[in-house]
Point group: D2
C-alpha cells in the first residue's frame, strides 16, 4: 500500500513573485508532490496555507503517513491549533519532513525545543552536500556528494538539539558549512530536516534532491498503527500493579482521580 | 564564585495540604534550597508561583546560573511569557533541573518537544534508583544504587526524546521501571530531569537525593558568558563572506532586509 | 526477497548439559532459526563454533543480511580473524543481533569499544520487559510490557556506550533493572542487543521473544548493496579536488603514495 | 590541583623529516605540552613511542587524568598490551584527546569500534573550523570560526559512530567538509577527537588550536576517583539480592563460580 503523503506548501511567493512562479508554475508543493509520485510506493497530495484549516483537517491528517513541510514568509500565519494537531500526529507515529526555510516553521521549533536559528546569505552560490552516514536509507542511490550550483547559504551554528543522526553536511562556496540533513525521533514519529530549497532557484527540479525526498518519505514512514491518546498519563491502580503491593503512607489523590497537568 | 541558583516552587500544596505542610514547613522549595546551600559552591534562593512574574523577572533570571523547577497542580497557571523567558535563558546557557511532577511543567514540555507523559500510582511503594552511568558527575559520592522507601510510582513509557545520557533508572516495588535521571542539551543550556519528589513523602530530606541535587546544579552550570541575542538569525552579506564570492541569480530579499520568521 | 539470516550458536551447553539439551533438542540456534523462519520475509540458517571457520566463511557472510549471535562459555574460542571479518561485514551494512550472554562475545566488545560488563544472578527469578520506545519497529505487535517467569538477572551498570535508542528496560524480581534492548549503528550496520536467553530456561520458546527476534531481524536489515572496501581511506589528488586548488607548502607524502595506518 | 596530563607523541617524523623538525624542534608532543602548561590548572608531561612501554607504564597511567595522543606513521608499532592498558584507564575515568592522524591510532579504533577512515589530501589548503555547539566548554574563548591557512584535508565520510556531540565542522578550500571536533563517552572516560595537526604545518603553534587543546583537557578531566576493576562482572548471590527472592529452576553455575567471559 502506498505511503499517504501530504506536501504542505505555504504558497505565498508562488503568487507574489514572478521568479518563483516561473520556476514552479504548479507551486513548490506541486513540484515536490510530482517528484514523490514518481515512486509507486508513495501517494502524494498537496495542502496549502490558504485552504480551510490549512488543508490539514484532523480526518485528513489521521490518514497521512508522512507530512512534508515547506514554509517561509508566512510562518506566523499558521494557526497554533493546527501546529498542535500536527505535533500530536507526529508523536502518534506520522513522519515529518521539514524543508529549507521550514527550520523556522512553528511545527519544527515546537518539536525541537530550540531556536532553530542559523546564519544566511542569498547569493546564488554553490552548495555541495556530503553524505556523512554511508548507506543510510535516505542516501540510497546517491553519490558520496552532489552539488547545487545556485543556493541560498545557511551557516552554522544551527540552533538544533544534537541529532539522532547527521546524514548530510553542506559546503558553501562562500566559506560556511551546515548540517544539511539531520534525523530525530519525537514520540513514535520520525523527523527529517533537509536544508536545500530556496524558492528562487530550481532546487526541487534537481534529480538528487528528488532522490532524497523520496528516500526520506520512505524512511520516515512508520507502518505501525497510530498510538491512540498519545498524550495520556494513565493511573495504574494498586490492584492493577504488575506485582502485588499494599498501599502505604499519605496520599494526595482520591481513588480514580486524574493526575494534574 | 558560587553558582547562583534559583529554586522555583509552585508552593500550592504546602498551603492547602496538611501532610505536605508538616513534611515541608518551609515549603518544598525551601527544603531544596537549604540542601543546596550546604555546598559553599552554590548560592540558592527561592521563587514561587505567587510572586510577581512568578519570582522570575528578567533581571533576576539574567544573573541565575541554574534554575531548579518543582511544580505539580498549577502547571497551567504559569504564564506563557515567563516560560519563553526561561527557555531563552536556557538556550543562552542557564542550567535547568526539572524535578518529579515537573515532567508536565510547561517549560519542560517546551524544551523537549514531546508529550513528557508516563504512567503513575500513588501508593507509597519502594523505589530503588540504579546508577547507569558510572562516575557521571551527577553521581559523585553515591553508591551504585539507593532506595526511597515511600515514593509515587512513575512508569515507562516516558514520553521524552532519547536522552543525551541516562544516569539513573528506577525499579519500583509494584513492578514498573523508569528512566529517573536523564540529561539534555538545549542550546548552550544543560538540562537534567530527576524523578523523585512526590510532595506527600519526605524525599527532599533524603541524603542521597541531596547529593544528586547538589551534583546536578554543579553539572548544569555553564560558566561561559550567556549568548547574547540567542535566537537571532544574522544575514552574512556577500562582502562579509569568509571566501570571496560574487552574487548570482535571482533574489528574494533586498540588501539589509531581515529574514522571515 | 527474504532476508538472509544466519543464527550463530556456540553449541556447547547443548552438548554438555542435560537441562539445556532437553529444553533445546535442536540447539538454541535451531530454536531461534525456527522462530525466525515462521516469517516468510526471513530465511534463517544456522552456524556453530565447531564448524570450519565457525560456519562463517567469507562467501557465506557476504550473502548474509543479518547475523544473530548467541555465545556464552566459549567466547575465547572464537577466532580473532573471524571476529574482524564479521566486524567488516557489519560496517559494510550487515545487521547484527547480539543475544544475552553475547554481551561478552568478542564481536560485541569489538563493536562497542567498552567492557560490556554487568552484574548477574542465576536464580530463575521473574523478569518483566518494558517497552521504552513506543511503536519502535522492534516492538511491533508487543504489549507495553511482557514477562519471563524464569530468567537470569543482569543488572546495571551495563558497560556499554550510550545507545542510539533504548527500546526495552527490564525489571527483576530481586530488585535490579537493566537496559534490555538497545540499538547502535556501526558503519552502515544496524546493531541490536537483546538481553533475555539464559540457556537453562525456555526463553527462546516464548512467543513475545519470538516477536522481538523477528522484528529485530527486519529492523536490522539494510537492503542497500554492501559498501565495498569499507575500511579504505582514499587519497583525493589535488587535480580531483571538487574545487580548483593549487598545492602549497611542504609535503610528507609522494604523489600516489598510500596513507599511513 | 593541576590536571595531570600526558602528551603522547609518536616522535618519528621529528627525527626523520627536516621540515617537521624545523617546525617542531622540541617535537610535536613538546609543542603541545608547552601549550597546555601555559594554563596553571594543567600539568603536562610527554611520553613517546620509543620509551620503554611507550612511556606509559601502569603506575604512570594510573596517575594520569588526561592523555593526549598524536601518532601517524607508526600506529602499527604501538603494542597491543599498552593499547588495552590505555583503554582500561579510559573506561575507569581517564580523559583521552586524540589528534589528527590519531584517527587511525589503535586506541581510537579500539574505543570507537568502527574503521575511523576518511578521505585525505596533502595540499596545504585552507581549513576553516566552525563551532557547531555554541558555548560548549571546549569552545571557551573562541570566535564562531577560525582558520588554518595550511592544512591537510580530511573529508567525509568519517568512519566513526554518531558522536555524543559535534563541536566543530571544517570547511576545506578544495571543497570537502569534516566533523573536526567530536565527543564520546567510553565507560567513565571522556573522549575528544580534534582534527587539525598535520606535521608539516605549524598548526600546534596556532593560538586558537592552543585554546582548543587546553579547553579539551579541562573538559575531559573527570575528577572522580578511578573505577576499580572496571571490567568486572560481579555475581550478586541470592541472599544479597536487594529484594528477598527464592532460587528457582535449573542452574548452570555452582555457587560462587565466576561467570564465563
Amino acid at each position: 500500500m502506498a505511503i499517504e503523503t501530504i506536501v504542505w506548501g505555504e504558497n505565498v511567493h508562488e503568487q507574489t513573485n514572478k521568479t518563483v512562479r516561473e520556476i514552479y508554475p504548479n507551486g513548490m508543493h506541486g513540484a515536490i508532490a510530482a517528484a514523490l509520485n514518481q515512486d509507486k510506493g508513495i501517494h502524494a497530495t498537496t495542502a496549502t496555507l490558504q485552504e480551510p484549516e490549512h488543508g490539514l483537517p484532523q480526518a485528513r491528517l489521521d490518514k497521512c503517513n508522512v507530512l512534508v513541510w515547506w514554509g517561509h514568509q508566512a510562518h506566523g500565519e499558521v494557526s497554533d491549533e493546527i501546529v498542535e494537531r500536527v505535533a500530536e500526529r507526529v508523536w502518534a507515529g506520522m513522519g515529518l519532513i521539514v524543508l529549507h526555510s521550514g527550520h523556522f516553521a512553528k511545527i519544527f521549533k515546537r518539536l525541537m525545543g530550540t531556536p532553530c536559528n542559523l546564519t544566511w546569505r542569498e547569493a546564488g552560490e554553490r552548495e555541495r552536500l556530503w553524505v556523512t552516514s554511508r548507506n543510510h536509507p535516505i542516501t540510497a542511490g546517491l553519490p558520496d556528494h552532489f552539488e547545487l550550483e545556485n543556493e541560498e547559504m545557511y551557516g552554522e551554528p544551527f540552533g538544533i538539539p544534537e541529532p539522532l543522526e547527521t546524514v548530510f553536511i553542506s559546503w558553501f562556496q562562500g566559506g560556511e558549512v551546515f548540517r544539511s540533513g539531520v534525523t530525530y525521533k519525537r514520540g513514535a514519529g520520525n523527523v527529517f530536516y533537509f536544508r536545500p530549497g530556496h524558492e528562487t532557484y530550481p532546487t526541487y527540479h534537481d534529480a538528487n534532491v528528488h532522490t532524497v525526498l523520496r528516500n526520506s518519505v520512505k524512511w520516515a514512514n512508520n507502518p505501525l498503527a497510530a498510538i491512540p491518546n498519545v498524550t495520556d498519563a494513565p493511573n495504574v491502580p494498586v490492584d492493577k500493579a504488575p506485582e502485588k503491593i499494599t498501599e502505604r503512607g499519605p496520599k494526595l489523590h482520591a481513588a480514580g482521580e486524574a493526575g494534574y497537568r
